[in-house]
């Protein structure tokens, strides 16, 4: 990544407003700082500048100086230094600020230029808005409201281009809608490092295509759909599913890996339709992996648990908690707790309280895959560091529960509380599961939930609020997007009731209450409340855990501690 420039500030004047911006900032970003919108299509803050859409034309000028003496020339009418305006408009994206730069974004020339660009862009653009998925979040729609003509002077036939090209398994291309901004090409080349897209042909026949014999199938292909300013690239998964203006946006976190990419969950009436990335310059820029976008499908999966069960029969939460209390009483000192790196910080804190009340050992299960160096890290648990911060565990977990298996075989453990972890996937055999009474809290059905004596269905990440600690030790919050299914209990409520059943002190089962207890118990979180946690997250002190051998390799905005020293 490019090193952040030193705060060399340059003073520029945009529409009469003076502002000091860092050197190297372009006019679009500088204007954004004074709340002036410069319309643009091809420019993207995280991609290289090409300047081919010509929408961001602005008028600019420099203070006049005498060529011979370099003395400022004063305008006698105003008494101020004269500005030499360049007689032609310039592009804002490709113009970096320089000291004393003056910019006009609202002059008649700029307005004329934008209207001209809009008219040319709309010449061959089809009137597909009623069937176009981009409608409602389309830059072309937005700018034609401001700079469009309202009718077309183009009476010739529009160009015909391929309408429904399947670029890859997840992306469909409509070439007629494409305005040739080349954002997708630059993204594939610069960020995804999978240079498969390009333009062929010339002039108004220019067409976006995939390299022959290849397809856009890398794990970041759907980011091209996000950055497409028009409806040329659409997602196969979201295509024709719902108009965006019906969807409610809720900030969330990608639970796929420990990167903790910031996301927005788009839902309507309790149904999630899509997940898109949310900009966080310190974590995921404006990108996220395709694999994280389909996680919402777990919400309505067929194997979702929706009823409290005791020995396989439907029951009620009160009875389940009483049964758990009896199991705890019958096996003093012979209870083990299996927490999860997929639980939120709050849930891990309550899991710790539960283990303390039962005087039970705690194990976590690690899931390690291969990182891709971008936004999928090696650690596939989103919140192992949360367990370290809350003190649920002191060492990194392993992928197999060998210690627990040995304890079960030796008869030292007779009751296991499993929080959202499949014990059989973590190495426990069916015979070992049959030897113990399992109390399972989780969202989906699997071998452990089938073998469990008590099953309490809980909520997925989309149905509750909470926080995760990502690989940078950044505490990030996610919010409830949709209500949970009937029959499922909030994880915090279920855990708080189990703590009470285990004979522990009364703990709060709601977010505010848990955060009060967390702030008191964990010094690192002393000043934090759920409400005051910033949207971009809060970096916690990683120093106490620097010695631990974390699994992650280098990813975007993250370098493992070993690599930096």
């Amino acid at each position: 990544m490019i090193a952040t420039p030193k705060p060399d500030l340059v003073t520029v004047n945009i529409d009469g407003k003076e502002i000091a911006v860092p050197k190297g900032t372009n006019v679009i970003e500088a204007a954004r700082l004074v709340n002036v919108d410069v319309p643009h299509y091809c420019y993207h803050p995280k991609l290289s500048v090409v300047g081919n859409c010509r929408m961001c034309l602005i008028e600019m000028g420099m203070p006049a100086v005498d060529p011979a003496t370099k003395a400022p020339i004063i305008d006698p009418a105003t008494g101020k230094q004269k500005i030499n305006w360049i007689p032609r408009p310039q592009i804002g994206c490709g113009t970096n600020v320089s000291p004393g730069l003056h910019v006009k974004t609202t002059s008649p020339m700029v307005k004329d230029a934008r209207e001209g660009v809009m008219e040319f862009l709309l010449i061959n653009h089809p009137l597909d808005c009623p069937i176009c998925d981009q409608a409602g979040e389309c830059k072309l729609q937005e700018q034609s409201t401001g700079y469009g003509r309202g009718y077309s002077r183009f009476i010739e036939q529009k160009n015909v281009k391929p309408k429904r090209t399947q670029l890859g398994p997840r992306v469909v291309l409509d070439d007629e809608r494409c305005i040739l901004c080349s954002r997708c090409i630059r993204f594939s080349k610069e960020v995804a490092k999978d240079d498969v897209l390009g333009f062929i042909d010339r002039g108004s026949y220019s067409t976006l295509t995939c390299y022959p014999g290849k397809e856009l199938k890398n794990n970041y292909s759907l980011n091209t759909v996000d950055i497409c300013p028009v409806g040329a690239l659409t997602s196969t998964d979201f295509r024709f599913k719902m108009r965006v203006w019906f969807l409610k946006q809720t900030n969330s976190i990608d639970t796929e890996t420990s990167v903790g990419a910031n996301t927005v969950v788009w839902s309507r009436e309790g149904v999630i339709y899509r997940i898109t990335p949310r900009r966080n310059d310190a974590v995921n820029d404006t990108w996220m992996a395709d694999s994280g976008r389909v996680l919402y499908k777990q919400v309505q999966a067929a194997d979702r648990l929706t009823a409290v069960q005791i020995n396989g029969n439907d029951s009620a939460l009160d009875i389940a908690v009483n049964t758990a209390a009896e199991l705890f009483k019958a096996a003093p000192g012979a209870v083990a707790v299996v927490g999860s790196g997929r639980s939120s910080v709050e849930e891990q804190f309550l899991t710790k309280q539960l283990a303390a009340a039962l005087k039970a050992p705690v194990a976590l299960v690690s899931r390690v895959g291969e990182g891709d160096g971008l936004l999928v890290s090696a650690d596939r648990n989103p919140n192992v560091r949360g367990a370290l911060v809350t003190g649920l565990i002191a060492a990194l977990p392993s992928s197999q529960l060998t210690g627990l298996a040995a304890d079960i075989d030796a008869g030292k453990v007779r009751v296991v509380v499993a929080v959202n972890e499949d014990l059989s996937a973590a190495g426990l055999t069916a015979a070992q599961l049959a030897k113990v009474s399992v109390i399972y809290l989780g969202t989906h059905r699997h071998a452990t939930s089938d073998a469990a004596k008590v099953v309490i269905p809980t909520l997925t990440v989309f149905e509750k609020s909470g926080t995760f600690v990502n690989q940078q030790f950044r505490l990030q919050k996610f919010l409830k997007a949709i209500p949970g299914p009937v029959g499922a209990t909030d994880d915090l409520t279920a855990l708080a009731r189990l703590v009470a059943a285990a004979g522990g002190s009364t703990v709060a089962g709601d977010l505010t209450g848990v955060w009060k207890a967390l702030a008191a118990a964990v010094p690192a979180l002393g000043a934090v409340t759920f409400a005051n946690l910033p949207e971009t997250g809060l970096l916690l002190d990683a120093a106490p855990f620097a010695a631990l051998p974390f699994a992650e390799g280098e990813t975007l905005h993250y370098r493992p501690a070993a690599a930096t020293t």
Binding site: P130, I131, Q157, N159, K163, R164, Y205, F240, R243
Partner: protein, 179 residues
Amino acid sequence: MAVIPVERKPLSLAERTYLPQIVSGLKTTFSYMFRPKVTMEYPEQRPELPSNYRGVPTLVKDPNGREKCVSCQLCEFVCPPKAIRITPGEVPAGSGREHVEKAPQAFDIDMLRCIYCGLCQEVCPEEAIFLQNQYSMTGYTRAEMVNDKAKLYELGGTLPDQHFKWDRKKEAEEHGNTH
């Protein structure tokens, strides 16, 4: 409060017989017998509706029998009582209409919610939804009062089309500026 006595005039002989009042009443009755009728024998007789009458919202087809709705969901968005519910879907390839790409899978209008405001007709970019002259909707259950897609097309029928937008688009696709 002071009591104010009101003097009541005694009735005259003509008034006491009631005859003048009966005669004047019958005069009004008989005068109406010879005027043109303003009532009608509903439901055997039906009123003639003005051309811009706003009856039950319906979906219409174009003269070629193509369903005009492309499920853009603008009517669902604009509907003040939220009576419209659309499930959008893709037009399958090979149907001859795949160039339209989008059509409703389901289209429900809850006539217990509909207020006959006509905003859906006004907002429709494809001229697919019309409030026509049907005004009598009855049913025994709530479910019966929800018009589904089949019912809406049955009520709507076919209306003349000035544009044939999608036919022209298909024609342009076949004969346009390719190279």
